[in-house]
Structures are given as structure tokens and as C-alpha cells.
Symmetry: C2
Subunit: 272 residues, 2 copies
Amino acid sequence: MPLDLDRYRIAPGVPVRLGERATDDDGGLTEDEAEDQLDDNIDRARDLQEALYAEREQSVLFVFQAMDAGGKDSTTESVFGPMNPQGVRVASFKAPTEEELRHDFLWRVHKKAPEKGMIRVFNRSHYEDVLIVRVHGWAEADVIERRYEHIRNFEALLADAGTRVVKVMLNISKDYQLERFRRRLRRPDKHWKFNPGDLDERKLWDDYMDAFEVAIEQTSTEDAPWYVVPAETRWYRDLVVSEILLDTLESIDPQYPEPDFDPDEYPPDSIS
Amino acid sequence: MPLDLDRYRIAPGVPVRLGERATDDDGGLTEDEAEDQLDDNIDRARDLQEALYAEREQSVLFVFQAMDAGGKDSTTESVFGPMNPQGVRVASFKAPTEEELRHDFLWRVHKKAPEKGMIRVFNRSHYEDVLIVRVHGWAEADVIERRYEHIRNFEALLADAGTRVVKVMLNISKDYQLERFRRRLRRPDKHWKFNPGDLDERKLWDDYMDAFEVAIEQTSTEDAPWYVVPAETRWYRDLVVSEILLDTLESIDPQYPEPDFDPDEYPPDSIS
């Protein structure tokens, strides 16, 4: 029974109120049920991925954005880890390098756009340039305003070249983040994931929510939709994201290409 | 006495009739006068280029398009050769590679966008995707139509990031091209420049003129203007292009940055 993804997809032009959206949900499923469905989704997505790879006409770009501890890394691992690694590439975007800053903000992400046949996952993305940059006022308001338009134009360019762009915000509450930070500090094997600077960003939580709302409203389009996924129950989060992946691959319907030889001329038993 | 560049600049939204535009012009100058002015322009452009390089806030993208034998290579050499090579990079775009074809048509050119402080020269460009591709019908009409918009959006993105985009069509007549082809065939040292396939393209001359007219009309904007330069008198062509370069650099007015130390604290005679 497929999930109703419309609950999480942001229709174009519709205001987004993150405070009214679930951060914790289980879809009425048990963990076992969800894991069975996840396995099933991944099997079907793998088959479609093979067709996508063979077809070499289309591609998929999956963008993850979230607050710290939102689960970008672990969702990527759960959903895209089981795919054929030859057809999936992950790009993580950190603070821009000096060279990157000497170009427009889309320069570094355009280089990583997926080639035909591939699935590309962005762990953070060009959206940082309208999220953290907006929250900290690192660019003027009118510059940020133009960026929404540049992002829409850029994603339309990709869409015209056969790339299906899907953007996922992993939605967590401020309390949940605190719980995850505390867990990281309690467990020495998780200390590497903690950065004292994360606590400064946490103080700007409300500003981040505002920035997310505007960014999602301004850039959720028919061709490049945003999904806001409740991310606190990790097995349900993974299930929803796998469902989005499957739905995306089904909607672009990749087809194995016709062979460029006539199979009738090569009866299998006749070749040697 | 500066040239009147408005004669060659294509104002936004104005229809272009290449047949009514000069291919041969000397601006009423002698060759000696033109060469003096060229030297003067290059000296001034070099000074501005140094400021651009020191400032590291803006950049220039100079796009050359022309029919075969239009003089893209030799204009690049005459005008950009005397610049400081550390601040100028030329990118030539040939038939796209297989990897390039697996991405949108702007992917390969975006990678070559100039970083702040630099002048980038494109010898051919993304405009091939609405010129040769249109003439040969290698893409559907509606795909080409969308490309004009993608080009405008892309060049606006660069403009917003501080890149001044200038596009130059080196305009020659069909008779002049024939003369140049014959010269290439008569001189063994020029044979390497001749390609029998060029004669096939030559047969499509009128289609190319149509494609140029539409492309220029659709993409000449305030921020990224087109110039149609008469290119048969080579010394005048070089002078006009040097004037466009100088005008471009003057309009963006690069400034040497403030030193990040206080010069008063370092009297030159006191250091050791």
C-alpha cells in the first residue's frame, strides 16, 4: 500500500508553515511493517535505476536539506546505500572554498549536476545560499531575493535536459535536535559529529525556519518539487524518502534501449 | 577620438538585419591611425585589467562567434594577446564530447565562467547550441526556443555575480569567406586551417544568417549586449574589438583594493 506522498509534497505557490507540519510520524505503521515496505521499495527502485542507467536519456537529482542532526547522512545511507553504486553519486557541499566564492553561487553545484543515466544526491546544496547565508545576513536581501529566481531558472534548465529534480527537507523539532546533540555528547564514539558552533546555529532556529519556509515556497515547482518529511522516527523517514525515490523513478519511466543489433541474427546457441 | 560603438551594439529587443550591416568598414581611418589607436587602447585596457585583477570583485566574459574564416582566432590574438596572460584565459568550444552531451548545454560553459578578477574569452560558446544546432535541426524547434531563455537566465546569473558578459559577432560576407577559403587552399602553410566540411556549412549560409539574427535579437540585453562588428578589414576589426574591451572595462570601473595594513606604520625607509 503506497503512502500518500501528497501529504508531504509542497504544491507550487502554496505558503509553507513548518510549525504546522509533523516532525514525528509513523504513518500508522509498525517498525517491522515499515521495514518490509522499505525493502520492497528499494528492490523496485533498483530495477528502475538499472533501466535509467541503460537508457542514458534522463537523470535524477535528489537534494537533502535539514537542520543539524536532521539525518541527511543516515537517510542517504539507508535509501541510496542499497542502490547500485555505479549509478549513484553523492556530493556533499561544505562551506565554499575561496575558488568557489570567486564564482556565482550555482557554479559549484552545476559542475556536479548528474549526467544522463545517473542518480545524484546532494548532501546540502545551492539552498545553503538562501538558508545559512540569509540567516546570517551574509548577502543583501535583494541578492537573496534574486537567488530564488536563479534557482528556479537553474532547475528548469536541468529539467529541460532530462533531469528530474527532487528536494527533501528532513523536518525535526528544536527539542529533538537538543536530544540528538546531548546523545552525541554522551557517547564518545559520536563526539566527532559534534561541533560547538552547532549550538550557535541552534540559537537561530526560528530564523532558519523562516528561511526554509521562504525558500521552499519560492522554489517548489511542478518540475522540481519540495517534500517536507517528518524525520524524527527514523524508520518512517527512510520509508517516506524511499517512496519519493520510487515515485520519482516511476514518473520518469526509464526504458531499456533497443539493441543496436538484430537479436535474431545471433541465436544464442550459434555463437562461439 | 573614441569610436561610436553604438553603431555596432545591438539594443535589446531591436530586430537585427545582418544583410543591412557593414561587413567591410574602415571608420574613415588609415591603417596607421587605426594601429596607433589600437596600441593606445591596449595600453589603457592593460592598466584596467591590472586593477580588475587586484580588485577581485568583478570579471569579464568575452564571447566570439562568427562564420568560418570570420577571424575569431586572429582577433583573439591581436586584442587579448597583449594583455597580461595571468589575467586572461581563452576557452575554445569544439563539438561537444560524449560526457558533455550527457549534461545540459550550459554545463560545459558554466565550468569555464571567469572567476573574479579574470577576463575569459570564449572562442565559440553556448551560442553554437542555437546556431549550428538550429541550422541542422539537431534539436526540436521548441527546445531551441527554450534555449534562448536559458541563455538569458544564465547570463543574468553571471551578471549578478559581477561578471560583465559581452558577445561579439565578427561579421563577414559570403564572398569574403570564399576569398579566405581560396587563400587557405592556395597556401600550403594554411592548409591545416581548411576542412572540406566547411564547404558544406557554407552552403547553409542563409540559414546561418537567420539563426544569428534570431539568437542576437533574443539574447542582446542591457547586462549582456551583442556587438556586430564589420570584420573584413582586419585592422579596423581589431580596433573596434579593442574599443569594446576598453569600454567594457571602463564601465565596470575596477578599483585597487584598500591595503589591509596601514601604510603609515611602514615608512619605506624604516623596513629592513
